[in-house]
Symmetry: C2
Subunit: 275 residues, 2 copies
């Protein structure tokens, strides 16, 4: 029987955004191989209800499990916020989402104890970051603002210029007016790291003090590295890992995906997943 | 057996945008009843591939047919552009999409013979409006520009102000620079009539001559009225028709839907459709 260490890590996302998480995973774990499943036929998850998101997450996880994976990373923050308990209950392998790692990174970064979170409607309304942070330490304050237009802007490649600047300013103004003491901002959606420069510039301007940006994908990659080590699941060193990209709908994936991964995606497989 | 005329007209859309079409249908046909199915669990269609859109359209049509309808209106332009032949082949009832009525209305409106179309990627890349217009009369010129950010802007309610103005200007500038002689602009997506004022203002400004906006939903409502009459399928006069709204995911539907229908939606049923 194949040693588990040789198996790839499964990563699923609602679409292509999770490729920013793959980028962080590959940077932290160059010997690991990854199977990425983007549910592009049903994207986005961030505007859909928890019941629908849990159903889709289970479909995706079962599909990846059937391909042989040693660990599952839920790259989509919305799916992480709503589906981790259901996934952990069903799957016989470790499941890592974005919320707990992001919450821990936010705690490590804050001085004022006031943590802002931006995400989709689904992530913000779930209260998942708020709960995860509250469980880490009492007395912290968290406020979250949905920023739904940032996903389509990122997918269209409108990453700089007046339109994204005005949209980001509008959302962060809402947060700042309620929560001026925040000194950390969790980028609680895979798409948001593409706006890092604009987010940094706008928070500096609006809050008048440094606001540290937390990338949940980077934090999750550290968590994956730690778990692989602790559970003795690391891939053997010496050989570079591979990335297999699968999507449920191939439309525009090569154009858009490259923006998120930071390099060409190579071959992309279109798959049907049982629903 | 119930007379067909008493049955409702089925309308499906990828989400809530098709409620603008329902609004036009109700205005033209006050005695007709409608069953509206919004596939909000899989919205949007406009960025997905033709194969996926045809599959989803057939799912939706079969579901509505099973509820008893006398005619099917495909309110989504993307679904109309890609699925009408498949739907007409399978369904034993008349099927009306957005493309042919919109094309005829554009032909009636143009003086210069130069017709601009705006829509989703799916609609524009299908070439459906271009083909439908070419079949009506030779020698017409058609150019189309995808405007993908208008759907999320409309769903978020950013209908006026600097952000939608700048986004619309960017898209229409691209069209104008290739096609300055256009004197008609087909709003080839259910969401675009919500930007009618901004579109009118921007075309006036950019093109320097009047550009008539064509609403495919309004044109389709005229087509439905004509077909009901010709096929003797009209509902009996005397009583106001009803609207039943069903969605595959209930998230945010009441907030967003009202914007498209122009009044509260009443009771909304969440349904599972066989896929």
């Amino acid at each position: 029987m194949m040693q588990d260490g040789h198996l790839p890590i499964g990563v699923f996302d609602s679409g292509v955004g999770g490729l920013t998480v793959v980028r962080s995973l590959q940077a932290a774990l160059p010997h690991e191989s990854f199977i990425y499943l983007g549910d592009t036929a049903r994207v986005p998850y961030g505007t859909k209800s928890p019941a629908t998101v849990v159903r889709y997450s289970l479909n995706n996880a079962r599909f990846l499990l059937s391909r042989g994976i040693k660990m599952l990373v839920v790259a989509c923050n919305t799916a992480s916020a709503q589906s981790i308990p259901a996934l952990q209950q069903e799957l016989p392998i470790p499941v890592v989402g974005m919320i707990d790692p992001g919450a821990r990174a936010a705690l490590a970064a804050t001085h004022s104890g006031a943590i802002g979170v931006i995400g989709t409607y689904g992530t913000v309304e779930s209260g998942a970051y708020q709960k995860a942070i509250a469980e880490l330490r009492t007395g912290l304050r968290v406020d979250a603002e949905p920023c739904p237009l940032l996903v389509p802007l990122a997918e269209e490649g409108w990453l700089s210029g007046d339109v994204p600047r005005m949209v980001i300013r509008e959302y962060l103004q809402r947060l700042q007016s309620r929560f001026p003491e925040a000194d950390v901002l969790v980028m609680g959606c895979t798409h948001y790291p593409l706006f890092r420069d604009l987010l940094a510039e706008t928070t500096r301007d609006l809050f008048g003090h440094p606001v540290e940006l937390v990338d949940s994908g980077v934090a999750a990659a550290r968590e994956v590295a730690y778990l692989l080590d602790r559970r003795n699941l690391k891939a053997p060193a010496g050989k570079e890992g591979k990335l297999t990209v699968m999507v449920t709908d191939k439309s525009r994936i090569d154009v858009v995906g490259q923006r998120f991964l930071g390099r060409p995606l190579g071959e992309i497989q279109a798959v049907d997943i049982p629903v």
